[in-house]
Symmetry: C2
Subunit: 462 residues, 2 copies
């Protein structure tokens, strides 16, 4: 099956019409052929009050996998309709980290019911996981992993994996700990498969293990997957005991989520929820957008002040007013390009604070060549288009020179400001992503205007 | 080992001083304890002409893994210094897709030497892989995967994995094909381990396989990993024959690369290279930034024209000039927020063209509440700060009303334009990421000015 959006929607339509005909047997048969992720998408096309009935048509082995993929409102509706036995059946099949993710979205009454229907040990694990801070590595780990004994053989290891592996999210990375649960080493099922059955685990394991702490940032943990090509990453607690692992699928989710957050921040949006666009209400959207709009609107008071200060000169030569937006826009774009590039390079660990002078020097040179190109093209464009073609009044060679020189000088300034601010922000432990276009533009607007008016005063003697 | 940037740099310093003391034995010992990815970072601290000597100090089993992680200039330098035997040793250890990635960056003479030192079959595979278009799924796949026979048992499967697995990048997903190499089903080592040795493969395999075609977009392929939590994804050719697999580590790289490209595009940068920031020269940076700067600068001619058209009114009431930048900036920010949100939602497949009216209706309502908030705060702010505190001349209640109403109306327009353009762009097969802040701002600038001047004409009777 080659998955295309179209296909899923078509299948959903088929199942909807089977549902209307009450042909549940056929729905059951179809569900067996569909990936749980896609079944969850099909659920979205159904009215929520029918999701429990639909859920009961799922083959047992797909029920839990599908449940995890549903949106939390549908999960809640299904749990409410569940008997305790049904609830226990699904919870038993879930991996612990998924159970915790679900619990975090549920109202207190549902949480209580879920906890009531888990055994004591699971409940304790859930409570521990719930306590990790939201952005921590601990919050995305699962405590279920394969642990092997140092003094066992490859054959023992396979026996152990066969016995305990069914409940683990991944079995491909196996961990060896000592009696106080300190991490001694790791190995992989691939390594095990390439060794003889009577080889000793202690001769196979890699003892230089890269790990993270439960309280490390989950984004930093996720980045290690891209860097080292891991399938799983061990997580230790404050006493250096192995308490869980992060799996690559969760790392991908974190990376995508952090990318979304960065992209939003870089465009003056405060991210308040991880919900998809269409599920976010108007007021919640307003809440995420209004803070920066307000800050940026009020800080634009400065540009107003600058123009007011030069009001006399503007009324002396009214043509200067027409050209206010263009250099301001260009300054914003130049600064935005520089800050974007640096914010992304910081986030990919390509540059750090020590590179600040190297970066500044490069951006100044880039600003110079960009500025010269823009100024040259603009100089000709104003003469040909604005003066000759459009016949705009008041354009002289001197006016043209003021505007073109403004472009050259402001471009260098904008590139410099744009590259410096994110690096400094990171050094001061602020999020560099905030130092992107909208914020940089407010600064370059003021700089551009000042350069413009100063050059006008100097060259046009007004 | 808990990896921190600091640690790697410190280790690099240690190794540098060992190198100066010619204590190669100790370097060898240290290298054994370090992950190949980190060794590659240490290489970056060394002068390039010494990298071959350093490379020869690597333990055999880490040499190829380290080689893959080096930058292409260092790889080239090392290959040039290699004897044919040394070259063959490294190439033999590389996975085919990595060999192809390396070859793509090398000059023709080196490519010839590499191909001369591979056997006929490998050479044929390399040549096939090199032919896939740059952005295709085929270009990131590896032809080395574990294939199982349908009529064999779990025990046979393990024997086969043990015999052939050493050369495969991943062994955890296994594929069953028929005699004409059509994909029949997949299974995982986890499934195999949880079944009895004498179970039949054909009873275990999942026959509803999600796959991609060699010519599908690699980004679309990579997204499937996030959606379905795959470790590997099969790739079929035009005749539906299984020709390779994509592994999750390569999918993560593609996702991060595509995110970087999107972020750059959204800020008017044309991405011309995948090199890290500090390795890109000034002129190459210029080339990636100047196209959009030029386009946006020239299109700002329109805003100039609008101001020119209203010149008389501006000279009649000069205070209006001071307030030109603020509504323009706010319009750009509002439009940028909307376009960013939609571009990201499109890229995450959260919305598509069919949602256009739902999205527009939501953005208009968001625009209304944002606009009302901004207008109200601005109305009070102009009276309190600009008029009372700063004593700016010429501010009347009517002028304040014009500016505040402009904010309200333009915010709604900006949100509408900002959300519509990316969706339409995608429908017309353009990249929606281009419809971000810089482009939207150029449009909202013109819209904001028109609204401003019209309201001024209507309310102030100028």
């Amino acid at each position: 099956m080659n998955i295309e959006e179209k296909t899923i929607e078509e299948i959903a339509q088929d199942i909807l019409s089977l549902y209307r005909q009450k042909n549940y047997v056929e729905i059951k048969k179809q569900f067996e052929e569909i990936n749980p992720t896609d079944i969850a998408e099909i659920f979205e096309e159904f009215p929520r009050e029918q999701s429990t009935l639909l859920f009961r048509l799922l083959p047992k082995e797909e029920a839990a996998d599908t449940f995890v993929e549903l949106d939390s409102e549908t999960q809640e509706a299904i749990i409410r309709a569940f008997s305790d036995t049904e609830l226990r059946e699904v919870i038993d099949e879930l991996y612990l980290d998924d159970t915790v993710d679900i619990i975090e979205e549920m109202p207190a009454s549902i949480v209580k019911r879920i906890l009531k229907n888990t055994d004591g040990q699971t409940r304790a694990s859930i409570n521990t996981l719930l306590k990790y801070p939201e952005d921590s590595a601990g919050s995305i780990m699962t405590p279920e992993f394969v642990d092997l004994k140092e003094d066992s053989t490859v054959e023992d290891a396979f026996k152990r994996i066969r016995r305990t592996g069914v409940d683990k999210e991944t079995i491909y990375t196996c961990y060896v700990t000592d009696n106080s649960r300190h991490l001694m080493g790791v190995t992989t099922v691939k390594e095990l498969l390439l060794h003889d059955y009577d080889d000793q685990i202690k001769d196979i394991i890699e003892t230089n293990v890269i790990y993270v702490n439960t309280h490390d940032d989950k984004e930093e943990a996720a980045k290690l997957f891209g860097k080292y090509d891991f399938l799983a990453l061990p997580v230790v607690d404050m006493e250096n005991r192995l308490v869980g692992i992060i799996t690559v699928d969760d790392a991908i989710d974190v990376l995508e989520e952090e990318n979304t957050e960065d992209i939003h921040k870089m465009n003056a949006i405060v991210r308040t929820t991880e919900k998809p666009y269409l599920k976010i209400g108007v007021m919640e959207t307003w809440k995420s957008r209004i803070p920066w709009l307000m800050v940026l609107m009020i800080s634009a008071t400065f540009t107003g002040l600058i123009i007011t200060a030069f009001e006399d000169k503007l009324s002396a030569l009214i043509i200067l007013t027409s050209f206010i937006p263009m250099p301001m826009g260009t300054g914003g774009n130049c600064g935005g390009q520089a800050s974007t590039t640096i914010i992304r390079a910081l986030s990919l660990d390509e540059v750090d604070f020590d590179d600040i002078f190297k970066i500044l020097w490069k951006e100044i040179r880039v600003g110079f060549v960009c500025g010269v190109s823009l100024a040259a093209v603009n100089f000709v464009k104003i003469l040909l288009i604005d003066k000759l073609l459009l016949g705009t009044e008041g354009i002289t060679l001197q006016v043209d020179l003021v505007i073109s020189l403004t472009l050259l000088v402001e471009t260098i300034f904008a590139k410099a400001v744009g590259c410096i601010l994110p690096i400094v922000a990171k050094k001061l432990k602020f999020d560099p992503a905030v130092m992107a276009s909208p914020f940089i533009t407010t600064i370059t607007d003021a700089i551009s205007l000042l350069i413009y008016f100063w050059l006008a005063t100097a060259i046009l003697h007004i």
